[in-house]
Amino acid sequence: AQSVTQLDSHVSVSEGTPVLLRCNYSSSYSPSLFWYVQHPNKGLQLLLKYTSAATLVKGINGFEAEFKKSETSFHLTKPSAHMSDAAEYFCVVSTKQYNNNDMRFGAGTRLTVKP
């Protein structure tokens, strides 16, 4: 079985400063890892995903994440926060090929961006 732990339920940063959202995973097999973002009253949007290729993954809107197997981590970063980044972020782990029903979501991290 696999699971994810998002280490912070709420992160607050100032506009223009770096963003770090932390995620640790647990998986018996080589995982796929995703970050999704959810803006208020909107659906979940894929930011980026790791699928056993390059360990540093670049996503949309300037976000990137690094897969570190030794630390079982997949932290999400962005060099400079923008007001529009304020949202809920979910780390997701999956281990099944073809079948995605083993996608396990973390509890989410709410990012607040202060002007």
């Binding site: 796929s32 890892l33 995703f34 999704y36 009253n41 909107k42 659906g43 979940l44 949007q45 894929l46 995903k49 790791y50 699928t51 056993s52 979910f90 997701v92 999956s94 090929q97 073809y98 079948n99 995605n100 029903n101 996608m103 979501f105 973390g106 509890a107 989410g108």
Partner: protein, 118 residues
């Protein structure tokens, strides 16, 4: 490209009443999912369809929840009778059915149907 469509967006019902949510996946996506997202938590899979067959419904409370996907396209999720703890956002999602082994197939989500049971 049109995304995953869901309706209604918002619904308020009394406990013990029934409610139905509708989902239209992205064209060509053979796999359809229903997730339940309770406030403050991550989404939890309720049921997964592949075309019109059920792949996984292990977390669906079958005494009150039902879902169908006739003709392998649109899907309906029904709750009858509703309980207070069913208050949540119900997310529909879809993905392609890969022809070759793929790792981490992307799932696309709709905007959700917000249910409040009072």
């Amino acid at each position: 490209e049109a995304g995953v469509a869901q309706s209604p967006r918002y619904k308020i019902i009394e406990k013990r009443q029934s409610v139905a949510f509708w989902c239209n996946p992205i064209s060509g996506h053979a796999t359809l999912y229903w997730y339940q997202q309770i406030l403050g938590q991550g989404p939890k899979l309720l049921i997964q369809f592949q075309n019109n067959g059920v792949v996984d419904d292990s977390q669906l409370p079958k005494d009150r929840f039902s879902a169908e996907r006739l003709k392998g396209v649109d899907s309906t999720l029904k709750i009858q009778p509703a309980k207070l703890e069913d208050s949540a956002v119900y997310l529909c999602a879809s993905s392609l059915l890969p022809r070759t082994p793929v790792f981490g197939n992307t799932i696309y989500f709709g905007e959700g149907s917000w249910l409040t049971v009072v």
